[in-house]
């Protein structure tokens, strides 16, 4: 358990390095962002080994990075960031994961806790009824043939054109909700069949919709720009991804990448890291299919946003605009992006894999929406359903060290099976009620597996990212209503 502690070279209070001498084949060192307490939590895990394994990827530049919410994944660690040269580096579907463009969207309201509390059961019930959640649930939208191609090509823009939202939502979404380069011809029939019934569904597992109230503001001016003005203000956080569509795209391309690894003579310590050169036919096809899945996810979150607005509008008898139901931002936290970064003092085009990591661009970056150009990109960091979530903002430090990336959530502490052994539905439910949190879940198992106990305290994660300078805290909000699949 203490072995990792000895192998990691302390750089400062927040940075720990895995030297290339740890494992022959590492092309660059590994770097973990963590404090002493977190190191104890990851000590017995295999995630540092995974950081070392990612360092094998051809063309990797800088370091194989692990955000403070790192935990054991498959192939890449969750919380892993790796940038590879576009010219002669690789793209790895395992560096994105099965839930392509799993991400988070935040809406503000002009409602206060006192307006919402008395009606919270009704709100939770209405949202649960309006937004299909849980396994086996089907969406309220059914697209066919060519229409699906539009979803895959245009993402959230498709949804807005269908009336599910407005132009401003797109402006306040990473990539404007539409990742370029999407080619529906690179997507299998299986992915389509899996994706069609699930469009407009929340899903299961750690996906959720939460009604939250702002609890503490750390940076009033940035919070103000994001539309949050006082504690007690109600906000809504949506966490979901590309559902079975993304899972199938990942699965399909892992199968393509297996032979590609042999074809291009790439040596890897884990099959799940299978990859191909970014510029190869296999690499380009994956990027085009991945973009389709990213767009599917943005369309999905856009539809859910629309139904959330409708539900609240009908409960309060006021139009969404009158309720201040404005989008703060929408970020992806499982994605690979072609971006330009400074590497060894030169501008370089790289493929940034963010596997459980959030883009965190600073003020002035051209990809930050106009409305936020003076403060930076909002970073949405969900915690667990019993505690709180954070909103942070991107920094120059992230550009210099982490290819503009930071943490994405709390990170699991306890396995799902351990949570099931130690907790019961009734004690998790009682605890939530005692904290004044109303909830509706489609699966009792999900309720237990997602209990607070199973997660690290997200405040520690956010604190490390803040201390290391890769994102800066803006405000914290805690749930008062939870909808889970």
């Amino acid at each position: 358990m203490s072995s990792w502690r000895e192998l990691l070279k302390k750089i400062d209070d927040y940075r720990w390095e895995i030297e290339t001498s740890y494992k022959p084949g590492m092309r660059v060192p590994g770097l973990l962002y963590a404090d002493e307490h977190m190191l104890e939590q990851i000590g017995g895990e295999q995630s540092p080994e995974q950081v070392a394994n990612v360092a094998f990827l051809p063309g990797i530049v800088g370091k194989s990075l692990a955000m403070p919410d790192i935990h054991w994944g498959y192939g890449f660690p969750i919380g892993g960031v790796a940038a590879t040269r576009v010219d002669d580096g690789v793209i790895s579907p395992g560096g994105v994961g099965f839930d392509i463009n799993c991400g988070v969207r935040l809406l503000t309201t002009n409602l206060m806790e006192k307006d919402v509390r008395p009606r919270i059961e009704e709100i939770v019930g209405q949202l649960f009824a309006s937004i299909p959640s849980g396994m086996g649930s089907e969406g309220r939208i059914r697209v066919k043939g060519k229409e699906m191609d539009k979803v895959l090509r245009d993402g959230a823009r498709w949804a807005v054109e269908k009336g599910y939202g407005d132009q401003e939502d797109l402006e306040l979404t990473e990539e404007n909700g539409r990742l370029k380069g999407a080619d529906p011809d690179q997507v299998s029939e299986k992915a389509r069949k899996r994706g069609i019934p699930q469009l407009g569904t929340l899903g299961s597992g750690n996906h959720f919709l939460e009604i939250q109230m702002v609890e503490e503001i750390y940076d009033e001016s940035a919070a103000g720009v994001f539309g949050v003005h006082q504690t007690g203000q109600v906000v809504i956080l949506i966490h979901t991804g590309s559902r079975g569509f993304g899972h199938q795209v990942c699965d399909d391309y892992l199968k393509t990448m297996g032979p590609a690894v042999r074809k291009y003579g790439i040596e890897l310590p884990d099959r799940q890291l299978a990859c191909a050169p970014v510029k190869s036919a296999e690499g380009q096809a994956y990027l085009a299919a991945m973009a389709c899945a990213a767009n599917y996810a943005w369309a999905n979150r856009q539809c859910i946003t629309h139904w959330t607005r409708q539900a609240l509008s009908s409960i309060f008898g006021r139009r969404p605009r009158e309720l201040g139901l404005r989008q703060v931002y929408d970020v992806a936290h499982n994605i690979a992006k072609i971006e330009e970064h400074a590497v060894d003092g030169k501008r370089l085009l790289v493929c940034v894999h963010r596997k459980g990591a959030t883009r965190a661009f600073p003020a002035g970056h051209p990809d930050v929406p106009e409305a936020y150009k003076d403060v930076g990109q909002p970073v949405l960091i969900p915690g667990d359903m019993g505690r709180y979530s954070y909103v942070a903002v991107g920094t120059q430090g992230a550009m210099e060290e982490t290819f503009g990336s930071t943490c994405h959530g709390a990170g699991r502490l306890q396995s799902r099976s351990k949570a099931r052994r130690e907790l019961s539905t009734s004690n998790v439910a009682d605890e939530l009620r005692a904290k004044g949190i109303s909830f509706q879940v489609a699966s009792k198992t999900a309720l237990i597996e997602e209990a607070s106990h199973a997660y690290k305290d997200v405040s520690e994660v956010v604190q490390v990212a803040d201390g290391a300078g890769i994102s800066r805290k803006v405000f914290r909000a805690r749930p008062i209503g939870v909808i889970k699949g």
């Binding site: 895990e45 995630s47 935990h71 054991w72 994944g73 498959y74 192939g75 969750i78 994961g97 099965f98 839930d99 849980g134 396994m135 086996g136 649930s137 299986k190 069949k193 899996r194 019934p197 699930q198 899903g203 299961s204 597992g205 079975g244 899972h247 199938q248 990942c250 699965d251 892992l254 199968k255 297996g258 032979p259 884990d270 099959r271 799940q272 299978a274 699991r412 502490l413 306890q414 396995s415 799902r416 099976s417 351990k418 489609a442 699966s443 009792k444 198992t445 999900a446 597996e449 699949g485």
Partner: protein, 137 residues
């Protein structure tokens, strides 16, 4: 010897499947995976579905087989509780999967499995056969 058991993984779940033959390992891995998804006691066998999978080697075939079953769960809304391997080779499997259409009101759906992964994948043949597969949850 149990047919299958689960191993701890922080974010996901590992299945260890046992058998007297590779065929049994394939069956037990599939049963293990579906037992995470639902209460298999409640699944009625009214549909028999043929499943075919191909992969470069038998380890990867095991992953492909499980992912094919997850595809049928998602795309065709089918849940299975019993499996019969008809033909198993190094790179090919043909099987029958028995079950019914998913009914959330009756099946007590539990954990969503996104995919079977290649991470730390192992299929060992000794006196008995044993496989380890990590599932993405």
């Amino acid at each position: 010897m149990p047919n299958f058991e689960f191993t701890d993984h922080t974010a996901d779940i590992g299945i260890i499947a046992y058998g007297n033959s590779v065929e049994e390992v394939f069956v037990n891995a599939a049963r293990g995976m579906f037992s995470l998804i639902a209460d298999l006691e409640k699944v009625v066998e009214v549909i028999g579905h043929q499943v075919v999978a191909e992969a470069p080697d038998q380890e990867e075939l095991l992953v492909t087989w499980l992912n094919e079953l997850l595809y049928l769960f998602d795309a065709e809304n089918l849940i299975f509780s019993r499996f019969e391997i008809v033909d198993l080779r190094q790179q090919y499997v043909r099987a029958m999967a028995y079950g019914e259409r998913v009914d959330p009101s009756r099946h007590d759906l539990k954990t969503q499995v996104k995919a079977a992964t290649y991470h730390q994948l192992k299929l060992e043949k000794g006196d008995e056969f044993r496989a380890r597969i990590i599932l993405d949850i």
